[in-house]
Point group: C2
Chain length 175, copies 2
Amino acid sequence: MIATLNLAAPRPRPATLHPRMSIAASSAQDLITFIRDSIPLAHSMDLRLHSHDEEHLAVLAPLPPNINDKGCAFGGSLVSLMTLSGWGLVELELRRRGFDCDVFVAESNVHYLAPVWEDFLSEARLAHGASWEAFFHTLRTRGRARIEVACRVPGEQPDKPAATLSARFVAKRRD
Amino acid sequence: MIATLNLAAPRPRPATLHPRMSIAASSAQDLITFIRDSIPLAHSMDLRLHSHDEEHLAVLAPLPPNINDKGCAFGGSLVSLMTLSGWGLVELELRRRGFDCDVFVAESNVHYLAPVWEDFLSEARLAHGASWEAFFHTLRTRGRARIEVACRVPGEQPDKPAATLSARFVAKRRD
């Protein structure tokens, strides 16, 4: 009954019709469009696709609609963007493999490490130790599985993120 | 240099001019107005004051601008509202005691426990074991202090919240 970030997944395209990367790129833009159209706050944030491949999803948000009174990024925008990037990473991999699931965030740990003074992005990848294979094995056998995702908003220095989010996402098969 | 939820604190009113509760109630509404005016996303969420006293701050958000594609509350709205309620609790107590500080969220742990199908509120209180006295003692001696705050979005059943957030806020004196 947990359903805070559920988004309807359209039917995945048959994998035989397109090269894998084309499907991924197309689905990522489709997903961002869907999110913007169905979640008013994502539209208010002006959420956009930055980049996507099988290992990461990066989404970005311009600063002006996400600003706070100090002129830097509002914490709520940072955590929302990170959560959406993680959710999207899981959703896209499910689509790519032909699964029709509800995906929702169950828990997250957030660190705010430095102020963000310009447009910002969040990059999501599987957390260290997390595995798509284990996730899909459980999903196939139990109809439900969870996976840990690590998201970060890059900071001004390459190795020092401005914010991080570690989240557990849960997928439940609908089919 | 951490400043994701910094909000400028107007000069606190002299405590001798008004009864304590009047100051608190007035400041809480002033703060919500300030947040709505200076953080576009809080305005998009249609953030409102629910109630406030010396032990809690509750803010609410109507569902329509905070909805997801399923018709329940977007996770980003839930975590943003909880974070703002916690930030506001600390900010208001600082104002009430005449401190001029920057307050920012440094870390949070979020649990999404049940979907929210209607307008929702977040109630913030000090976390178990946290103490204003210890916080203000440290702030007076070091010019900087941190405090743990517990926020919750009530669920349909009285003792089962729909979401919880445990956050560490940091205050730094500006004066």
